[in-house]
Symmetry: C2
């Protein structure tokens, strides 16, 4: 582990057994386009390649042995789109392919500050021709439609012919169940169909349309070749493959350089001319991009990342491996996150087909905190996304036979529920409260009152209403919520899940308070909203009544919260017997898991982190001690939360162990499934483990409090927090903690119980 | 409703809109073969025809949006087999078809004492040729492989040509989801394939084999034509259709009579010669059957039914409509029930494809009582069936990760679990206890100690073991059973369902006592069993400990049993709002139904009938009053039980109303789905409503007790009960009740609290 690249990821040997795994790790993206890190020249056995556009999907039918009312009849999955990476190279007629011949001096690197993937190697062909090869690839943060590639080939020991074929290929398919039952979906392979492909005037073009979602994609390409020798060029378009071919009379030591510009743009199919308009505009953009040139976008890429790291970086001294993991995770979050208000961040980002490109509650509870406190502009787009889904969520509520309110889908891209197993899908109503919670956190930190007034109140009211639909006041005068599944998916369809009830109460409270606020401060706005949504005093008072009377089960003997009403009545899980059988879900029928006291992930412990100030330290400690023993962490959403709470409770070694488990999950392929994509929620969990865990940051009543702790292995660490327009640098070392206001007006914060006013 | 046929079902007009419904009502069967009542000559629009062999099925794959460990990967469904009914008739070249021309004097009847379906009509062809037509059909109770038909055609106003084509047709398919999503299964239509068809020597033959279940079917046919005119005969075999064609020079008023003998025999495919052996044997049988002749089988049919009605009849004076319904139901039960120990009675008998020909707990809790107390020989075959499934149930237990014991499938033909929705399938563990309970009831009534010793104890122990696998002793010292679904499918995956817990305790108790009995009376048998099953003292004592400490929730305030631990915490169902939305399952997502206090069917009330002596009258009354209000009876298994308990509690009007709902369910197509087949459990429920309800019969500690009540509308009724080798006739009228011992040694019974010794 010497010589760890703390600002990037480096590979110094080609290990073809890890080719597909590394295609995930070296994937590039800008939140719109994402492409896996496969080589330009490809390999013979090319598995799990993929290029994705955030939010670009097609439908497939869901089937059920028994289907009931309200079951989604179809799902959708992110599509693998036109491959724009491919550059085939022939050296004196021999195809360049590192599986053959001899490869030397290999190095591949993704640089987190430059945002460029580079590769260098020397290759000796089977016949003995030696070349030096260099490639670069970037997906532009500045121009979101742009995928840029460059290859440089230099003959070392020969003069001869070098042929370069640069292509865009529309003949692509998703992974099917047949290829890989764990990842693949029920696609036939004809979901994305090329409807036009052409090449002329040095511009290649492929237009594709989805089979059933009425979405379309235009991909255009242009190339520029620089060389000293003679070169002839030809264009071909064949079988959904559009290519430029360069035949170069290469000379020893004279480099040949190809620049490849590929643009992607999607459209919603309305009528045929939308395709022409989109592609015409894209060709205009292509010419502009060519004019700007390669260096311009490399430069812009650096600028963008400079700002990102200035806002977001966490610096750690004392453990390069951790430092690398932390930055790798933040970098992938940036690459994955949609920032147009219409797309979000999927469970695997734009790096693979796992979870079908769906968005979950992961965004709100795990990922949004990172953006809220580092890049509030991006956070805003993520909350906007949920507002854009509100109409679909209302429709879903109706589908589920609720008279009022909105029910957000458990997993989705376009707003329709895609979960085919309701006990761990639709029954996880808590997603409504999670969204409401995170919106309030966003508004608090960003002071985006405009969002609150224009959109936030509406979401808060519509989500709160659903709790009145599914909950009820019992004879005890308390508000109960039956038949739900909490975050822990190893316990399903229970009554009064503590997480759900507290979060629902929080949702109701925030909705109530937001309406009162609106009524007082923006009476006209209130009138308009009240009319549109049919809000009246009675209903608002019912919000209030429900949240102040929320029923919370509590075990007076154990002095512990049961996860739900009946959790403590269930038998203990036999951990001795289930050794080697993780994740349990792969080895036991769900009902056997549901029957026992065993948790897949943080549930109550997550709640005690999120609504931190509702529980005292002793309570948290008792609960932590109890639930830790019975949690398998079979979900990647778990260890980061246990790390945070272990820190809060002073279990520093545990905190560090859990953190370590989470920080290099993908780089070290700990779950053995990173080939299918990175784990974005866990990546953000790493950030949370540091900021909320080691840094001890909490936001309460609009104020930040820190209680930093320095892990034993580290000599110092620092991080940056954006809050209410300020940027605060927090630096911790053996001597203590230092807070520095980097910009904005003075602000009061707390260091543990000590009040500090930070000034510049 | 005048002139009701109390010993049959009569139709006097052809209503083509009810053709498919009536094909169910006029279906014939003998527990082995069943065939729907479609006309010999067919109609142009021939829907929902079908011929079935009990237990003859093929597989299809089950699909799930999300599939977990222990989910069945395939299901199986009863196949529609070779059609042996068809007889096409041409009158001077015109096809006889009642949809065309004019039909007069139509009458169709199934006679419950003769077991023959007859039809008579006069038909005038579009061109004006008039014939008289008579047909008869029977499926022999005496020779189970035999389907016998006869048609008699007499020209009324012409001499001319009459062509008769008698066929067996192997080109048949099941109803698919495309035809009818409510009934059809995921079959492709090639599940039953003809592998050989031939005709020679007046014998037609079709051999078919299933695609994946390795089952085969031989169908053979022979015909005999009697007429006075000239007749030429030809044989054809074309496209899986094998036919005899008779061309007759018909003369006015001279009848032409065709007898058609069709035999069916299934085999388990092992190697190719099994087909030859089976068909050779069947042809020998066919010749024997032809020799015996038509009248012989009609005579045997009558004999068989004489005995059946002697054993089973319920006679009711004062309401012919009820009388007809009661006999119709009993007759269909007889037609549907498998009696070879390898087959059972499916939810729709052999009358249609609904529920895929699967067997459920319906047999044990609803249907077996009828056979136990009227035809114990048939009851024995039904309990034998469960013994034959024991190995498959052990395997299912293992699949579900249980170390010991057997878990009977919720729905099956061959023993494999076919339920694709575990919350209302595998979670209904109570089927284990239901089977154990009914076996004990059978043994008690039949005194079949041999069955107990050889097979019963083994079933009792293996079913009991499963409760130790899924239940546990909690800190209160009580035995709890979590995460189960009781009989009521509108409440799922709950803890301590009262029905399940009491029945599990009963299962454990009976297993414990059976083992002790075996050990004391048959020590060698015990040793053998104990060795085979690894039974030891510790385990047996644990059975005892579990049943004496069974946990039963009880609401001390309401003085009512909650259906399960949390039932009373759930909100009331809004019946006002759900008006017109029954069955609820077709209108609400399951989780919304699960969330509320609403029942599909008798659950606790069923328990209080089954384990009658565990509850006192006041308790039963309180429970009945509470649960009646919240039960929708969306299941056809419900009203008969409410009728019985209403009788017990003196709610005589209610009892009669529920009974009336159940007694003509199929004849009057009350659930609007009898087209897919009769409701066998409800049919047996009718019997139960009379015997256990109006008759007030209970079996306690090996003794029968009666508490008869005469419904207001009736002047008298009587029924027959087989018990411990005796046959008892119970007659009730306005003066009171009379008990008569028809055969066997004297026996003590109770009339209410009065002890009576019956002698012949």
């Amino acid at each position: 582990m010497n010589d760890i690249n703390v600002w990037g990821l480096t590979e110094k040997e080609i290990d073809t057994t890890k080719y597909s795994l590394n295609a995930t790790l070296f994937a590039l993206g800008n939140g719109y386009i994402g492409t896996r890190g496969n080589f330009e020249e490809g390999l013979e056995l090319e598995e799990y390649d993929g290029t994705f556009i955030n939010g670009f999907y097609d439908y497939y039918d869901l089937s059920y042995g028994e289907k009931y009312k309200g079951y989604p009849s179809r799902s959708h999955a992110m599509l693998n789109v036109t491959n724009g990476k491919k550059i085939d190279i022939y050296i004196n007629g021999e195809l360049f392919n590192v599986e053959k011949g001899t490869t030397k001096d290999y190095i591949r690197e993704i640089n987190f500050r430059k945002g460029v993937l580079t590769r260098k190697l020397t290759w000796i062909s089977p016949r003995g021709d030696e070349i030096s090869f260099e490639s670069e690839r970037l997906i532009s943060f500045y121009e979101k439609h742009l995928l840029l590639s460059k290859v440089k080939i230099t003959p070392i020991n020969f003069d001869g012919s070098i042929k370069i074929i640069s292509s865009i290929n529309g003949n692509v398919k998703n992974i099917t169940k047949e290829n890989d039952p764990r990842i693949g979906v029920e696609f036939n392979g004809d979901e994305l169909r090329v409807i036009k492909s052409s090449i002329d005037d040095n511009i290649g073009k492929i237009i594709s349309r989805t089979k059933s979602s009425d979405l379309g994609l235009v991909c255009v390409m242009s190339n520029r070749l620089d060389c000293t020798g003679e070169c002839s060029t030809s264009y071909t378009e064949y079988n959904e493959l559009v290519s430029h071919t360069y035949d170069v009379k290469a000379m020893k030591n004279e480099p040949i350089i190809l620049q490849k510009y590929v643009l992607y743009k999607t459209y919603k199919y309305v009528e045929d001319n939308i395709e022409k308009i989109t592609s015409d505009n894209l060709i205009i953009l292509l010419k502009e991009v060519m004019d700007n040139g390669y260096k311009f976008y490399k430069c812009k890429q650096k600028d963008y990342l400079d700002e990102f790291w200035y806002n977001s970086d966490i610096s750690i001294d004392g453990d390069d491996s951790v430092q690398q993991g932390v930055r790798f995770n933040m970098y992938h979050l940036l690459q994955s996150v949609g920032r147009d208000g219409l797309t979000n961040i999927s469970a695997k980002g734009l790096t693979g087909e796992g979870y079908e490109g769906h968005y979950f509650w992961d965004t709100e509870i795990y990922i949004l905190p990172f953006f809220i406190y580092t890049n509030p502009d991006i956070a805003k787009e993520l909350v906007e996304y949920r507002y854009n889904l509100l109409e679909a969520a209302r429709k879903r509520g109706k589908e589920m036979q609720y008279d009022k309110g909105a029910l957000y889908p458990w997993r989705t891209i376009n707003g329709e529920e895609c979960s085919a197993y309701f006990p761990a899908g639709t029954a996880q109503y808590h997603i409504n409260a999670d969204i409401a919670y995170s919106i309030c956190k966003y508004i608090e930190a960003s002071e985006d009152e405009d969002f609150l007034v224009e959109k936030g109140v509406e979401i808060l009211v519509e989500t709160a209403r659903l709790w009145l639909e599914i909950g009820q006041f019992n004879d005890d005068g308390k508000f109960h919520i039956c038949c739900v599944t909490g975050p822990d998916e190893y316990t399903a369809i229970v009554n009064n899940n503590v997480y759900t009830n507290f979060m629902a109460a929080n949702n109701l409270k925030n909705a109530y308070e937001a309406v009162i606020f609106l009524k007082n401060k923006y009476p006209l706005k209130y009138r308009e909203l009240a009319d549109n949504l049919n809000i009246d005093e009675v209903e608002i008072n019912k919000f209030h009544e429900a949240y102040i009377n929320i029923y919370i089960p509590y075990d007076e003997d154990k002095k512990i919260y049961p996860q739900d009403d009946s959790f403590f009545q269930k038998p203990a899980w036999d951990f001795e017997k289930s050794k080697g059988k993780y994740p349990l879900l792969m080895h036991y029928h769900p009902i056997n898991i549901y029957r026992a006291q065993v948790c897949k992930q943080a549930d109550l412990i997550l709640l005690e982190f999120i609504l931190n100030d509702l529980f005292d330290d002793k309570q948290k400690k008792r609960d932590y001690d109890y639930y830790e023993k019975i949690t398998t962490h079979d979900s990647s959403l778990s260890t980061c939360i246990f790390s945070i709470m272990a820190n809060e409770l002073g279990y520093y070694h545990k905190a560090y162990d859990y953190f370590i488990h989470s920080v290099r999950t993908d780089i070290d392929d700990i779950h053995n499934n990173t080939t299918a994509g990175v784990h974005t929620a866990n990546m953000a969990g790493t950030w949370m483990s540091i900021i909320f865990g080691f840094g001890g940051m909490r936001e309460e009543k609009g104020m930040l409090r820190f209680s930093p702790h320095l892990p034993e292995k580290w000599t110092s660490y620092s991080f940056r927090i954006s809050f209410k327009g300020r940027k605060i640098l927090v630096s911790v070392d053996e001597k203590g903690v230092e807070y520095k206001l980097l910009n904005g007006d003075p602000i009061v914060i707390y260091n543990k119980e000590e009040k500090l006013e930070l000034k510049r």
